[in-house]
């Protein structure tokens, strides 16, 4: 245990420390000691360490802090401390040598400055996004002209990881969406005896809208984030710089395989999603006592090939958007501990927004085309 006795003899205050000056000991005495020194003022303090049994760096820092408060010049400061045992002298030297000057923390930026900075960053960000879209498009075309330059092994691996492995979740979600939608629609339609037309509703809704949309959203959550994290981590580890200096364009090397794979697998996944969603609706209709063949006839008679094609064309675009957004956000990763996390968040958010916007654009186009 540490102790501090304070004695005032003829205008000099003696602070007699004893016991163990380690972290717990210092914690006990810090406030009292600092207050005493500040109250007494410079030139009238003596710090006595004669009865200190143990001292570590915490203790030494404590003593030098006090001596710095008690004396203005280094000479004065070292005169303040007396009775230092031989074994503690080097420690005190170490801590006294440290300048410990008040290096003030960096100033806080004002709100207006911060807003302005945020605005410029988002503008720059948008500019970079557009540039990257252009570069990716150019790289894609050059690869299509010269398919040998595409890294097909990587492309297959990405197709497996973000396509085949996504199949269970796509199936699950589509089945539930089909089932729930059919159930909700069947209740009011039954009042008019029209529940068999639920088949038409499910068929058209799945094939034109929900199949592509559900698949795209699952992919945005699963793959856009994964692409952003993979590429973002490579950026942080300077792997992208390494690729660049070895003369391999990162876009062709990393982004093109992902974009090709995602663009090709999205329509495939959508076909499954359509089918399973329609099956989900069928479960409801069967439970109303209709035979499967009438559900089938209703769907096939109503949903046209144009509906299916329209849905699948959308999917190519969604796949492209998801992969490109994920890769670009990853590529834009800055430095810092939360950079990869930010990049993945931005990848998911941006790709979902883009999916919604492009879905709207497609609706308008299809309306004018009469599809």
């Amino acid at each position: 245990m540490s102790e501090l006795n304070i004695e005032t003899v003829s205008r000099t205050t003696a602070m007699l420390f004893s016991g163990r000056l380690d972290a717990p000991g210092v914690a006990r005495l810090w406030d009292t000691a600092v207050k005493t020194v500040k109250k007494t003022g410079r030139g009238k303090i003596r710090i006595d360490l004669e009865s200190v049994d143990y001292m570590d760096m915490a203790g030494a820092t404590f003593i030098s802090h006090l001596s710095r408060l008690a004396g203005s010049t280094p000479a004065e400061q070292s005169n303040v401390v007396t009775g230092v045992k031989k074994e503690f002298a080097p420690l005190l030297d170490l801590s006294q040598k440290s300048k410990n000057e008040a290096l003030s923390p960096p100033p806080k930026v004002s709100y207006i400055e911060k807003t302005g900075k945020d605005l410029t960053t988002s503008l720059e960000d948008a500019k970079m996004f557009i540039t990257m879209v252009g570069e990716i498009t150019a790289a894609l075309f050059s690869c299509l002209k010269n398919p040998g330059r595409v890294r097909w092994a990587d492309t297959w691996m990405v197709a497996e990881r973000s396509g085949v492995n996504a199949l269970p979740i796509v199936i699950l979600i589509s089945f539930i969406v089909g089932l729930v939608m059919a159930f909700q629609a069947a209740i009011p339609m039954r009042m008019f005896g029209a529940e068999i037309y639920v088949a038409n509703l499910i068929g058209i809704a799945m094939v034109r809208e929900l199949g592509p949309l559900m698949t795209a959203i699952v992919l945005a959550g699963r793959s856009a984030s994964a692409f952003a994290a993979e590429i973002g981590t490579m950026k942080i580890n300077e792997e992208i710089d390494a690729l660049t200096v070895m003369g391999m364009e990162p876009i062709r090397f990393l982004i093109v395989p992902r974009v090709i794979a995602a663009t090709l697998i999205t329509p495939l996944l959508t076909v499954f999603s359509n089918l399973v969603g329609i099956l989900g609706g069928m479960v409801v209709i069967l439970s109303f006592g209709y035979p499967p063949i009438s559900y089938y006839n209703q769907v096939v008679g109503f949903v046209s090939w144009e509906d299916l094609a329209g849905g699948l064309v959308k999917c190519f675009v969604f796949g492209l958007l998801i992969a490109a957004t994920g890769c670009i956000r990853g590529y834009q990763t800055l430095r810092g501990p939360s950079a990869v996390g930010d990049a993945t968040t931005r990848a998911v958010v941006s790709s979902i927004i883009l999916i919604a916007v492009f879905d709207g654009i497609f609706s308008v186009i299809y309306f004018y085309l009469g599809i």
């Binding site: 914690a27 915490a58 820092t61 404590f62 290096l103 960096p106």
Partner: protein
């Protein structure tokens, strides 16, 4: 002075039951600077990680202050860990905190010191490794050598009795590295801190270390041990002789 503080007994070090080192036995005395040597990838960091209880051994024990750290759980483990400081090979600073906050963190967690005191102690530690000018930078804004020095300061934050340093001087310029050597000697002398250091810096080994062990990858064990100055002069083991004399 010559009290043993760490005993390694029949330690088989490795990952997932694959031994990289087999049947290691050595003791470390209190206050000594003990260096672990060996070729790149031979398992030095692995042995170090076993000695701080981070990786469970394939078999064997490591005693710190007579207590087995490999089997310590809960409070006992926490108490053992509070008495050691570790600076990892790649720094392992917390990226979301400034350098100063990184050093202050263990002090805030484990002591009742007032904030002012903690900051003063953290600044002294950072000044010791000559990082007093970079208090408010994030680890991300540091060079490799600066990260290393900040990590050493963090390892020293709680004044541990034993400091484990994994390649402290790799990536430092010769002057800073010599500074660090001086600091290690000073701390070992002034505070009786025991150092367990993994390093390749021959110069620094010859300056600071009291005793070395050299690990062999093929032998899966200790191929030489003792005073480095004697090992350098002794040509009886050709590999060790070449290692110390930089003669391939």
């Amino acid at each position: 002075m010559s009290k043993t503080i760490i005993n390694v007994r029949h330690l088989c070090a490795g990952y997932n039951h694959n031994a990289i080192m087999e049947d290691l036995n050595f003791d470390i005395q209190s206050g000594e600077v003990f260096v672990i040597l060996g070729g790149s990838g031979c398992g030095k960091s692995t042995v170090l990680k076993h000695m701080i209880g981070l990786v469970p051994p394939v078999s064997g024990q490591v005693f710190i202050h007579g207590e087995d750290i490999t089997n310590a759980r809960g409070k006992a483990r926490k108490r053992l860990l509070a008495g050691i400081g570790v600076a990892f090979q790649n720094g392992a600073l917390f990226g979301s905190m400034t350098v100063l906050e990184n050093i202050m963190l263990p002090l805030m967690e484990f002591t009742d010191l007032p904030r002012e005191a903690i900051e003063a102690i953290a600044r002294v530690k950072l000044d010791l490794v000559d990082m007093g000018h970079a208090l408010y930078l994030l680890p991300d804004e540091l060079s490799g050598g600066m990260k290393k020095r900040a990590a050493i300061a963090r390892a020293m934050a709680l004044d541990p009795a034993i400091l484990f340093l994994d390649e402290p001087s790799a990536g430092l310029d010769p002057l800073t590295s010599a500074e660090l050597d001086r600091l290690i000697l000073e701390l070992a002398g002034a505070l009786n801190i025991t150092f367990v250091i993994v390093t390749h810096e021959l110069e620094s080994i010859l300056t600071i270390s009291d005793r070395v062990i050299m690990l062999g990858k093929k032998e899966k064990g200790i191929i030489a041990q003792g005073d480095p100055r004697k090992l350098k002069a002794d040509p009886s083991n050709p590999y060790v002789y070449k290692f110390f004399n930089r003669n391939p």
